[in-house]
Amino acid sequence: MSLFHGLLPEYIIVGFILISLLGNMLSRKYHVASWLSLIGMLSAFVASSHLWSFVLKPHMFLGGGAVIDNYSLFVNLLVLLAGLGTILLGWDERRWGTEFPVLVMLAVLGMMILGLAGNVITLFLGIEMLSLPLYILAASTHTASGGEAGLKYLLLGAFSSGILLFGLALLYGAMGSLAFVNFAKTVATPTSPLLWAGVVLSLVGILFKLGIVPFHMWVPDVYEGSPTAVTQFMAFGTKVGAAAILLRFMDFGFYATPGWWGPALGYLAVLTMIVGNLLALPQKDLKRLLAYSGIGHAGFLLIGVATHNLQGARALLFYLLPYGLAVLGAFAVLSLVAGDRDQVSVSDLTGLAKKRPLMAAFFIVVMLSFAGIPLTGGFVGKFYLLQAALFANQPGLAIGLVLGTVLGLGAYLRPIQALLNNQDSDSTAPKPKWTLGGAVVVVVAVVGTIGLGVYPTPIVHMVNQSANFFWLH
């Protein structure tokens, strides 16, 4: 397989970014770039699925900088799903201007690069490629908070990238190579303080992006202040990208010495699951509630890395899909209910079951999937994570997962209760309108969630092929 063939999805995205820019230049029509980006991402989706059977053995390109395997293709499929959802949800948002689809595609490209990163250079470029367009999107004009979210995201993003970069520099100093695979070869020799500081700092940098608990304070503010479609993109896409690079970084670079970092990540995972879900309980603003639930779910994802076994990697990859589908569905309903506004509180949902029964039913399904109720994808995902924790002989992780799930259930039941409540519903409030884009996203999310809960086998099969980079061991 040639480099061009392996990087086909990325090339398609780059091509369509340029074509969309040209389209914006040549045509005054608002939707030209949106249509072009939809076509571009769909063709990249098709290209990724086409490549699936070619790469059962990993292919290394650019001196180990780009690793094309089923893992990177699975990440591609997930982030393209997130990008398509964002374009559809932001379809009628006039205030963004025509650069919105272009920026979304750029961020998607960054996430795809994170999926295939094999050395420090691609890691860094992927993270920046993802972050820079998101700073602009978070600071879009006419949000209620007036660019505050963008400013906070920018400052903390630059800060965490600085920490990550310095950590990577120290790792380079300790090992003399930039490729993850070479880290593993030198890392078995006696350790130096340089190596320790490098591992700690680069882990802090990546955990910042993932939103793990001691480094989570930016997440709620940024989620609340950003436009709804962008928040959905951050909650789904950024989490996929950060989790993908974390798993690849640890399991390529440091698989020989899991004793150093496994326990530390395990404690952070338990802390994150409990604190994130606990803080979600009292939230009144729905976006804030989903932000804290996103922090809790980052903790669930971290279990998959901390267990450091094949089951853990598979469970993490699997869990990304039900989580992402639930995020898509929840934010789609949120943006339909919100209409032109940016803020949605739990009380805005009051009486939705009477006004829009179908919309309310869809919202209940995705909330139950977040909570991990059987027959939804979230349940299957949590089941696999629990299994991985027990296989790794780490009952503490399993207990934390159960505790976090129970706390989370309390948080998710409050919006459901509000939307079933008919008593004090304000009958003068306008009915939320269905839009075509929102309807498509909600239906796909709900069908996917229930499908994963009832018949997860095809995705499990894909995930088993994806987590094949344990060939290194």
Partner: protein, 100 residues
């Protein structure tokens, strides 16, 4: 020839100054500048180690850091100016409107 430890020590000091600056100062411009200082400290460390290992890839990384930092400054200053236009304040604690 300057020993590599000295250069890396300088980079570590620059990094610490930058990190403290981000945490202590409240003006977004200064905070942003401090964050850029952390990036430059990392670039310096990469170059020092590249010479130590006689390996070009560290220098490539330093170039990419400088290029990316330039892109980030372009976006960052635009965002800071936009926020200033809207609020006429440049203090992250005063700008902060979102609570709990």
């Amino acid at each position: 020839m300057i020993p590599v430890n000295w250069v890396v020590g300088l980079a570590a000091i620059l990094f610490a100054i930058g990190a403290i600056g981000v945490m202590v100062r409240r003006n977004p411009l200064i905070m942003f500048m401090s964050a850029e200082m952390m990036w430059n400290a990392a670039a310096l460390a990469f170059i020092a180690f590249a010479r130590h290992w006689h390996d070009m890839s560290g220098q490539v990384m330093a170039f990419l850091i400088v290029g990316t930092a330039a892109a980030e400054v372009g976006i960052g200053l635009a965002i800071i100016v936009t926020v200033y236009h809207r609020r006429h304040r440049l203090d992250v604690d005063e700008i902060s409107g979102m609570k709990n």
